[in-house]
Symmetry: C2
Subunit: 479 residues, 2 copies
Amino acid sequence: MTPDEDLHPDDVQQHLREVQALLSRQRLVENLVHRQDMPRHDLVENLVHKQHTAELRHKLDALHPADIAYILEALPLEERRFVWDLVKAERDGEILLEVTDAVRETLIEAMAPEELKAAAESLDADELADLAPDLPAEVIQDVFQSLPSEEREQLRAAMSYPEDSVGALMDFDMVTVREDVRLEVVLRYLRLFDDLPDHTDKLFVVDREEHLKGILTLETLLINDPEKEVSELMRTEIVSFEPEDDADEAAQAFERYDLISAPVVDKEKRVIGRLTVVDVVDYIREESDAEILSHAGLREEEDIFASVWDSVKNRWSWLAINLVTAFVASRVIGLFEGSIERLVALAALMPIVAGIGGNSGNQTITMIVRAIATGQVQPDALQRLLRKELGVALINGLVWGGLLGLLACWLYRSASLGAVMTAAMTLNLLLAATAGVIIPMIRSRLGADPAVGSSVLITALTDSGGFFIFLGLATLILL
Amino acid sequence: MTPDEDLHPDDVQQHLREVQALLSRQRLVENLVHRQDMPRHDLVENLVHKQHTAELRHKLDALHPADIAYILEALPLEERRFVWDLVKAERDGEILLEVTDAVRETLIEAMAPEELKAAAESLDADELADLAPDLPAEVIQDVFQSLPSEEREQLRAAMSYPEDSVGALMDFDMVTVREDVRLEVVLRYLRLFDDLPDHTDKLFVVDREEHLKGILTLETLLINDPEKEVSELMRTEIVSFEPEDDADEAAQAFERYDLISAPVVDKEKRVIGRLTVVDVVDYIREESDAEILSHAGLREEEDIFASVWDSVKNRWSWLAINLVTAFVASRVIGLFEGSIERLVALAALMPIVAGIGGNSGNQTITMIVRAIATGQVQPDALQRLLRKELGVALINGLVWGGLLGLLACWLYRSASLGAVMTAAMTLNLLLAATAGVIIPMIRSRLGADPAVGSSVLITALTDSGGFFIFLGLATLILL
């Protein structure tokens, strides 16, 4: 490839369009065969079909595995499987690593156990650990048996760490050197390699028992006199992790200290692995995706070409929870049916009070949950935050509640109805602010993730609370 | 620092607690001075005060700028400014780069123009460009005049690119080499450097006119025979960007191809800058933060210790929009006040229909918006997606609507009310699915960002639509 054929960021969409074009020509041929079904045409169409398939296979062979993954994700099921069959078997493993979980499932379903085994065996232990949960148990068992004992240990280790730990993200590819040698020796040592592990920006300096003594960046190695000793030049202020560390905190440390790679050590400070920015980037993206999806009550990334049934399964639990909370709110309204019968304007106005309370509560809880996640909110900040949020709620309640009160007053020619509206809005916003601060604080103190379901909780509270406050006030004052 | 004093990911929270402890001792002293206000005590307290201040200053000097930024973000306003005054002036610039926009504002407000000028002058052109929008115009003007002409050009270039472009993220630190030299020459050339630009994993191979010919990774440089020539070993399949490229696409390319750095070239393929994974990570984090905040209608990251007034400003527009949509929904209910007066059960049941429609619509629109953002949905997928989402909606409508219909029937002893409930739920879910697919598709075709305000739009539609469908059906059938 000459520089004129550089990869450009939008190239992958170009590749996708080309593959789609080839596929649709393919489909045209197949339709022809089906429609006419005449023996003498068969040969010609078969030839054309073969030619398109060869062209497509050729195209796929030239693509980066991540690009093939992207294309597979963008194709509907039957075309996806057709393309998947054309991909060279030895590339299956690396492509399975790149696709989203939902798409991976559809690809694995289409593979025979031997194919899966071959694909799995082409991977490193840390990669295999990522793939393992999606593979059939017997395939894992087979692959496990066939591994050399060191890799088997690595795989066992990698699979033993919980999903959101450093241990689950780390790899085992690293280059270690001793501190009592000259740079020149290190340089000669490196020339023995066919290649360095991907994303190597530093070597780990260890003693005979693999204890971490320092790090030697490639930069240090390159800019210094080769006659100097590693111990003179290595850095000893090291950001290192233990496999049990929280992946979130590791990701924050990578961002804070602008790291490319960092050693992972055990309790005795022996180097056992390495964390790279590439794994951290994937982790950050997955976490933020999960957070965005959970806001809409989606349990996981959905393959957009998933079957209706798979989609229903991904979404039903959120709808069920909301149905319960909506039903509770409906029963609160039920308590006041007598009042509504006597003053039907209440029915039209009550959803406004509940809805704005939910919006405002979600703003508060989003702020607080995010501040807790960074560790920047200490428990003693509760009072200060509460005071601030109540202040915001009071202003919003008086301003927007006042405006709505005027509107209600003008629409229904009743000043007291307007006053009830303003009062109810203000009270519901104060309720939303209080709950928005206190719910995540309590959950974080109980050790729960304050983000999970926070939106459902606050909305349930401001709905039922809003109806109760508004209809209750109206019943007391107006009727 | 010995390896026993490694940085650990949770160290920064330890630092924060130590600073807070010092500050609270400080505050204790100040309170004492205020309360007693006796001349003979002054001297002692002044001494203690000075001692604590010195201790704090010492602590801060030892910290990484990113850690100081973290601590500043976690402190309330007056303490933040106190700590900020203790930070060495020459570190101001790098710390201002690290803090969030909201906190940066509070720090800049507290600085004199000369201090700001000194801080700005300590930065590289690309860093200065990031900071510039927050600085007073006269400071920028002064700094600009004082720059050497090359850097002035770089600053002008960096500031001329729109916020979400590669040009706004790139830096100007790169090492270039010629293709017709031996590795040994490159190695000797590198030894002339005091340090390489941060995160250098590759050198850019250029010709005399700075045209990009290839890349030479540090790995290639280290593992190969120094007698070989650059041209033999350089890679020519290069992922490169142009400054006008979309930062989102560049970030996706970094993730897809696991890049650490990549050259930025102009239209004539001359190297003009460099994009690193560190800037990409920051960008990814900022984008996903903005997306999560926008779901709750927060315009930007809020300093959690911001004044009530700043918070009100950050949040008011979302509340205003929701007020309008809630008011419209309320007017839809107003149309059916006669029906509600005659069958008050409608008032209690209608929020369920509207609420579940909103939930379901948000699920659909979240899926579609995300698929569009990756470029994996082509316009011709519309029909297929619509069919699938309508299928999901139909199942959910019949299942959950059916369940609610039974509940309504049992609560109000009316089979026809139950039937209306089921029918209205199903129709509103179908409406939600249709709008959830079509709204983002149309907006993307019109060139708008399909994510912005999608949640408000769909909720507005399913609220008003839900009320209309349910009350309308009930009026037709039951009354």
